[in-house]
């Protein structure tokens, strides 16, 4: 039985989709096919820090959807849920180097970290200054000696936007890396799934849930979460996500936050806004000020139904950089 998706050959999904992306957004990006990466149409921008991110495919619009003015200079898509190899990362890094160095934004997974590391070593050998920021905002995973460390999840989108704005305004590599680290350090996320997703080449769901079961603490790769519970009303589910976030990074009254309700790909917007309502209520009760917000499917797990909540504790500079113009396929304002 073929897997029920709008695809041709499972092995060609990433290539064909990237080709379509390039055609649809030819004004914004150029798509290189061998090795595969997506790069700003005007790259390299002389004197600007280049920003490269990437990782397994299946999280769209992350990362290609964020290539453009004010955000990423290049995105490197691996196979579905598989970190790209060093070759395309290196090629992308070279393509965006405008002489001011290149920042790698890497989600904290063993594969991503190792492959980006290798690419960075090779780029350095070619005389390009590379720094890496590793995102790890997922509070579902204990960051201890006994794990591979926290996963990088939805906070990555916020890091990419804010670091991208810093690079666009002319910050140095160290400055861009510093603000990226700062955003990551102030971002916390947690997700849940109502349904699994199906990796095209696997053809089977990533896990199996009974009709009344959900997974709490999932990542973005269709991997199971930490806990399986019975379905509960939306407000209770929101509480289950937001409580560990607020415990991990407490807020004082008057603190400002960016509230990000993210869909995992298959969740209707109507549900995301319904969840937003409750999250806003919880924050208001605690006197936290929602200074900015984002609601939608911005970092996904294929067709998975579910959501994640992210809070980013904002300072003045982050707000300014968040508001700065951005023009990418998936995030656009100010121009």
């Amino acid at each position: 039985m073929p897997v029920k998706k709008i695809i041709n050959d499972p092995k060609r999904v990433v290539d064909e989709s990237a080709a379509g992306f390039g055609l649809a957004h030819a004004d914004l990006v150029r798509v290189e096919m061998d090795p595969i990466y997506v790069v700003r149409a005007d790259a390299p921008v002389a004197g600007k820090v280049g920003i490269v991110s990437g990782g397994g495919s299946g999280h769209e619009p992350l990362h290609a959807g964020y290539v453009g003015f004010g955000m990423l200079d290049a995105a490197v898509p691996g196979a579905v849920f598989t970190s790209p190899t060093p070759d395309p990362i290196l090629a992308a890094t070279k393509a965006v180097d405008g002489g001011a160095g290149v920042l790698h934004i890497v989600k904290n997974y063993t594969g991503d970290v190792l492959n980006f590391e290798t690419a960075a070593d090779l780029a350095s050998a070619d005389g390009i200054t590379v720094r890496a920021v590793v995102t790890n905002d997922d509070v579902a995973v204990k960051d201890s000696l006994y794990t591979a460390g926290r996963r990088g999840v939805a906070g990555t989108v916020l890091v990419e936007k804010i670091a991208g704005a810093a690079a666009e305004r002319g910050d140095s590599l160290d400055e861009v890396a510093e603000i990226a680290e700062r955003v990551n350090a102030n971002a916390r996320s947690m997700g849940l799934a109502l349904t699994p997703c199906i990796v095209p080449h696997a053809g089977e769901p990533s896990f199996v849930l009974a009709e009344d079961e959900i997974e709490i603490g999932i990542g973005i790769h269709g991997e199971p979460g930490r806990e399986r519970i019975k379905l509960e009303p939306a407000d209770r589910l929101v509480d289950r996500l937001i409580e560990p976030i607020l415990e991990d990074l407490p807020y004082s009254e008057g603190d400002r936050t960016l509230l990000f309700v993210n869909g995992m790909g298959g969740t209707p917007l109507v549900e995301l806004y319904l969840a937003y309502r409750r999250a806003a209520e919880v924050l208001e009760e605690r006197g936290v000020v929602i200074a900015r917000s984002l609601v939608g499917n911005y970092i996904t797990s294929l067709e998975m139904q579910g959501m994640s909540l992210t809070l980013l504790k904002l300072d003045e500079e982050m707000i300014e950089l968040w508001d700065a113009p951005v023009h990418t396929a998936a995030l656009r304002w100010g121009r």
Binding site: G56, G78, A79, V80, F81, T82, S83, P84, T85, P86, D87, Y109, T110, G111, L114, N115, E117, T118, A140, V141, K142, L145, Y146, T147, A148, R151, V199, H201, A202, E204, S206, F207, G219, H221, G222, E223, P224, R226
Partner: protein
């Protein structure tokens, strides 16, 4: 009797076969405690090596083959397994040097270097429920066999058996490295996919050696 270029090429071919054959099994193991791509990743990598074997210049050594595998895996596999196996074959190639033939102690040294490479990159310890839990028993068994004077084929046979036992022994473990560690206690009761692929690859090495010896 030492193992030469024929063995090395056979090993790669057998590896590609056995990985293709067990592709779904590795995907399934990885789906249970990871993200379900290990079989696909490894298969993509070894299928990419195959055509390159034909381009090996005359006079190539086992070390050249290992290096070819290393660079191909690094540039085609991706994920955690790509750099980890890539480093393993690369360090193995360095240990093999330019020798035309590898005897028992040399094979044990290749395996030890490979394992050390994985540890260097991945920082896993024994018992973390990773491929290391197949590699380390295999290296120990290989070294013991070699120091008992076993020939290269026997060293690989010992390594293969130990790798299988090691892979099986990952089942009750709670993962502390890799994606499975996100599951915490729920990772127990499943075999680690990387340990399984290690056992498959070392068995292919041993099978290739028996075939060489028999031929």
């Amino acid at each position: 009797m030492g193992l030469d270029i024929t063995w090395a090429v056979d090993w790669v071919r057998l590896s590609a076969d056995v990985i293709a054959e067990h592709r779904i099994e590795l995907i399934t193991l990885d789906r249970e405690i990871g993200d379900g791509d290990h079989g696909e990743n490894m298969d993509r990598g070894f299928q990419a090596v195959l055509p390159k074997l034909d381009d090996l210049p005359a006079g190539s050594t086992p070390g050249d083959v290992l290096k070819l595998v290393a660079t191909t895996l690094i540039s085609t596999v991706g994920g955690a397994a790509g750099p980890l196996y890539g480093t393993a074959y690369l360090k193995g190639a360095v240990a093999a040097g330019s020798a035309a033939s590898l005897d028992g102690p040399a094979i044990a040294a290749v395996l030890a270097a490979a394992r050390d490479g994985i540890v260097l990159r991945g920082k896993a310890e024994s018992g973390d429920k990773t491929m290391i839990d197949a590699w380390t028993p295999a290296v120990d068994a290989a070294e013991a066999a070699a120091s008992n004077g076993s020939d290269a084929a026997a060293v690989l046979a010992a390594a293969s058996d130990a790798a299988w036992a090691g892979a099986e022994a990952t089942e009750p473990l709670v993962a502390r490295k890799g994606r499975a560690s996100y599951l915490g206690e729920r990772s127990a009761g499943h075999r680690d996919p990387g340990a399984q692929s290690t056992a498959l690859l070392l068995q292919a090495a041993s099978d290739a050696a028996s075939a060489s010896a028999g031929a």
